[in-house]
Amino acid sequence: MPAAVGDQAIVPAAVLEADGLACRRGGRLLIAAVDWRLAPGDALLLHGANGSGKSSLLRLLAGFLRPAAGRLRHGGNDVFADLPEWRGLLHLIGYQDGLKPSLTVAENLAAVTGLLGGSTARLGAAPHRFALAELADTPARFLSSGQRRRAGLARLVAAPRPIWLLDEPATGLDAQNRRRLEALIDEHRRAGGIAVVASHGDVQVKSPHMLDLGH
């Protein structure tokens, strides 16, 4: 197992600022004017009922949706002005894990790592992180939902990126793997990364900024 497991060789994040960010979905103002300022190492915890716009806000942050109003700045630059550059800095973990059912876990991880421009050398560390080593040769269609989620999260390790957008990342994870995920988020923040986490409280994030999207 390589020694580089704990070491996050990333370009640290810069200050991530939202200024009156609003999101409109289906003609309805889903998120009205939210503001925050996250320094490297900070985490933002999104709260809110189902349908309050947590996932939409994360997709907005990833640049998949356009804001109805407001600005999002990373290191002072408007991220929507240069989306390709911004997308190269972030991970988005959504409700789907991006695994191909007919490929094995190892093949899936190799494909995702290559796609995201990660290094295959780090891949050695990724399966161990979520105890995926014994699943490496299993086709993804035979995985349970928790195992699929673990395989999806492994890309956080395999391709280091400074901004993590995590949408209910602990769905399906058992207690032990939730602890692993929390440790991973802590480590990421210590290395100067930023994490934005939407959660119903099943992931403990140390001293987060909070954003309540209401109902």
Binding site: A62, G94, D97, L103, A111, T113, G114, L115
Partner: protein, 222 residues
């Protein structure tokens, strides 16, 4: 920029090899549907020779159409479409790679199978090189144009039927020049111009279609 594209090509090729039924569906349809024609119109060589090239081209259009919905739908369903958009390479190049792999695992098989079809339709000897060559120039264009429709309708129910309705009219120029290339050779009129036009359409599709496909996929992600 090349690492993500190479990883994508490897992944898609591997996926195609893992599900041979889906991969070979198009070419098997091509063979089965064509073998119905001698039964339907009678096995007289004059009729078959006269309609042969046209029938083969029409079936090639339909065979490509059949395979289009696996182009982006699976990536949308399992969340890989988001991953493709987070890759450090322009989406236009990514869709071009996806189309190239799709063609290798669908259109190319039609090209390879086409001499056999020429035999089934009792086409003259010249068809054994003219037909594969015309399909070689024409089928990548079919994949690229079809991918625009597949991208626009990815995620919609009844997507594959609608894709056919949108895409088939756009296939008409390829059909016309593909036909006249083969017929030109078979009737001794020389199909050179038609072959050149097929090539020009391929170049135009390869350079313009990726922008349309990428724009369609960006809409699908909203």
């Amino acid at each position: 920029m090349w690492q993500p594209l190479a990883a994508l090509a490897r992944r898609d090729l591997r996926l195609a090899l893992r599900s041979p039924t889906e991969t070979f569906m198009g070419v098997i349809f091509f063979l089965v549907a064509l073998s119905l024609f001698p039964l339907g119109v009678g096995a007289s060589p004059d009729i078959l020779t006269r309609i042969g090239a046209g029938v083969i081209w029409v079936l090639a259009l339909l065979a490509v159409l059949l395979t289009l919905d696996r182009l982006f739908q699976a990536d949308l369903d399992d969340g890989s479409l988001d991953l493709l958009r987070l890759a450090p390479a322009p989406l236009e190049f990514i869709v071009l790679v996806k189309c190239a792999v799709h063609w290798l695992t669908s259109g190319l098989l039609l090209v390879v199978a086409s001499p056999l079809l020429a035999l089934l339709m009792a086409l003259p000897a010249d068809a054994y090189w003219a037909l594969p060559l015309a399909l070689l120039l024409g089928t990548p264009t079919l994949t690229l144009i079809g991918a625009i429709g597949a991208g626009l309708l990815v995620g919609s129910r009844r997507g594959s039927v609608l894709t056919a309705l949108i895409v088939l009219p756009l296939y008409i120029p390829v059909l016309i020049f593909g036909m006249s290339a083969v017929d030109g050779v078979l009737l001794g009129l020389g199909g050179r111009t038609a072959f050149l036009i097929l090539g020009a359409m391929l170049l135009a599709a390869a350079s313009l279609a990726p922008f349309a496909i990428a724009a369609a996929l960006r809409l699908a992600g909203e």
